[in-house]
Assembly symmetry: C2
Homo-oligomer: 417 residues x 2
Amino acid sequence: MPARTLPETLEAAQTASRALATLTSVQKDTALAAVADALEAESSSIIAANARDLEAGEAAGLAAGLLDRLRLDEPRVAALARAVRDVVALPDPVGVVVRGSTLPNGVGLSQVRVPFGVVGAIYEARPNVTVDIAALALKSGNASVLRGGSAALHSNERLVAVIRTALESAGLPADAVQTIDAFGREGAAELMRARGLVDVLIPRGSADLIQTVVRESTVPVIETGAGVVHILLDASADEAMAVDIVRNAKVQRPSVCNAVETVLVHRDAAERLLPPLLAALRHEGVLVRGDDRARAVDAGLEPATDDDFATEHMALELSIGIVDDLDAALAHIRRFSTKHTESIITGDMAAAERFLAEVDSAVVMVNASTRFSDGGEFGFGAEVGISTQKLHARGPMGLPELTSTKWIVRGAGQVRG
Amino acid sequence: MPARTLPETLEAAQTASRALATLTSVQKDTALAAVADALEAESSSIIAANARDLEAGEAAGLAAGLLDRLRLDEPRVAALARAVRDVVALPDPVGVVVRGSTLPNGVGLSQVRVPFGVVGAIYEARPNVTVDIAALALKSGNASVLRGGSAALHSNERLVAVIRTALESAGLPADAVQTIDAFGREGAAELMRARGLVDVLIPRGSADLIQTVVRESTVPVIETGAGVVHILLDASADEAMAVDIVRNAKVQRPSVCNAVETVLVHRDAAERLLPPLLAALRHEGVLVRGDDRARAVDAGLEPATDDDFATEHMALELSIGIVDDLDAALAHIRRFSTKHTESIITGDMAAAERFLAEVDSAVVMVNASTRFSDGGEFGFGAEVGISTQKLHARGPMGLPELTSTKWIVRGAGQVRG
C-alpha cells in the first residue's frame, strides 16, 4: 500500500512546488548534478529493476518495439545521466522577462516566466521519460507527478527513488518528484481530474492512451502525439538523398514517433526512385506495402490499405503511395497525418516552399530526415515530448515549454479613467 | 432553421481558415477597416437588434450587471468600431520568427508564428465579445466560430451579418466569421467535442459556463476566468491612494471581471483606513460586508461569510477582511482567489516584492487599480479574454495569443547518425 493517498500526494507536490519556485538556478543545478551522479552510481540496481520489467514484458508478449523502448542497459543509463547534465547546462527559463512596457500613465508592465507549479505526466513503458521529465520539470521550477505505467513499474520506482534521495542530499524536497504508479489505473484517472491541483498534464505513448487522456482530462493537456510521419519524394528528388533519408527515417530507430510511416512518391519519379529505394529497404528487412500504383511498378509489394496509411507501426514496416502532384500529396497528408512531422525531398524551390507553408504539422522539413524532429537534436537537452496540438507548445518541447508567465504591474497609485 | 448543419459550419470554417492563412497583412487590414466602417454605418440596425435582446432580458429578469454588459448604444457601437481599428493598427503576428538556429550539421531551424486555424468562442450576453474576437481572430489569420448565447441572439446575429458582408466586400470568405447561436445548446455541446475541427475554444462568462466548457470540452480550452479579485491594504498603505484605488476598482465598472471583490486590510492599518474607505464606498452606494474583526471596527457592516469571500458579485458589493500580516493575506488569497488579478497597496518595498513573487495569479500589482488588468489597457487593442489558466496564455490575451507556431527545418540531405 502506498504511504499516502493520491490527494495527499498531489498536496505534497503543491507544497514542494512552492519551495521550488523560489530556488536559485545554482541550487537547482547542484541538485540535478547530484541526480546525474546518483543515476550512474546506481546503474546496476536500475538495470536489475528494469530486468524484472523486461522479463514480465516478454512473458506478456509485448511487441519488440515496446520492449526496445523499455530496455535499460549500461549505455542507456549513462545516456540518462548525460541527458540530466545537458539540462544542467541549459539556461534557467524562470524569471526571464518575455515582454515589458511602460504605459502612458506611468504604470510599468512586465511579463515574466514562472514555473507551472505541478506537472503531471502519463506515459507507457519508457523509463527514460521518467528521468527526462523529472529533470526538465525540476530545472524549470516545477514539481512532477509521474504515472509511468505498469510495464515499467519496477524501473520507474527505482529511478524515482534514486532521484528523490539525490534531491534530498542536495537540500531539496524529495516530493519535487513523485510516482503514482502504485495507485494503478484509478490513480491515473484521478490525476486527469485534478484540475486546480495539477497545472498541466502531458500524455506520452500510444494513440489510445493519448486519446483517453485528451477525452477524460479536465486538467489542461499537452497532446504529444502519435506520429504517422510522411516523406514526399518529389519529381526532382535526388536519388541518393531520397534513399538515404527514407532509410534513416525508417531504420535508425523504428520504435519512435519521428520514424517515417508513409513515403509518397511523385508519379514522374516512381520508375526512377522506387527500385533503388525498395532494394535499400528490403536489405534492411523492412516490410514494404504499396498502393495499386506502386504495386504496378513493383509487384513484390504487399498491398497497402487505408488502415495501413493511418497506422503508426513502430516497427520495420512502411507504406508507399504514388501521387500525381504536390496537391495530391498535400491532400493525402491532410487526410492521414497526425500533424507531427513531414518532409519533402526535392530540388524544386517552389515545391519546397509550398510544402513548408501548406503542410499543417508541428515540424515541416525539406531535404532532411524526420528523425531530427526531436528535442535533443534541436538543442533542448532532453525533451518532454513532441506536441502535436497547437496550444501552448508545438513540436519538440524543452524548458521554456514547461513554464507559464505572470504579469507584474507596478504603479504609484494610478486608477483607470 | 439554419441553412447548414453544425459539421458543415465547422467544415466551412476550416476551408475559410486555409484561405486566411495565406492572406497578406494588407489584405487583412483592408477587410478589418471595412468591418469598422460597416459597424458605424449599421449602428442603428445594430442598436435596434440589441433593443430586442434588452427587452427580452428585462422581461426575463436579468441582473442589472448582465443587462449593462448586454447593452449597445451609439457610443458603445462607435467603441466597437474603434476597437476594430485598433486591431488594424497592431502588428500582424503571423510569420514572425520566434526562434531560429543552425545545428552543427548544417540543418537550419526556425520557429514561425502561424494561425491556429479555427478558433471557437462560447460566451454570454456580451455583444462586444463578438466583434473583439472576430477582429482579433481575423487579424491573426484564424476563422472564428462564435456561440454568443441566447440573451444576445439578435445583437450577435446582426453584428455577424454586418461583419460577413463587409468581409465579402473586401474579397475575403464570409465564412471567416460564423455564429452558431441558431443551433442552441446542442450546438455549443457539439462545438466542445469538435477536436480536430476546432483548434482552440475560449469560454467567457459566468463561472458555471466556464466550468461546463472546461469539463465537457475535448477541444483545447483557454479558461478565461471569473475574477474573485483581491486588494490588500498593507500596514503602510497611503490613505488617499488606498481609498482611490479601491473605489476605482469597485465602482468604475462593477460588472466586469477585473473589478475588486475583496479588500484585505492589515490589522495595523484597520483603524486608520476603514473609516475613510467605508465612507467613500457607501457614498458610491456599495454594499459592504465584513468579517468579525472588520465589524468590530465598524458595526454597520453586514456580516461576510466564506461564500461572500468566494463570490464574484459583478455588482456594487464588496467584502472586507482584517488580516494579521502578509502571510495571512497570502493564505486568504490562496484559498479564495480565482488567480485572475490581485493588487497590494503599500509603501513597503519588501512587502511589495513578496506579494508580487508569491501570489500565484495571472496579474499581480502594486499600487495600481485592478481595473488595469485588461487587454485594451495593456495596449493589445481589443482583448480575447483574460486567461486564468497557465497553459499557452495567462492574463489579458491579444494577437500573439491567437497564434500557434510551426518548426521549419531546411536541410541538404542530412540524416541522423
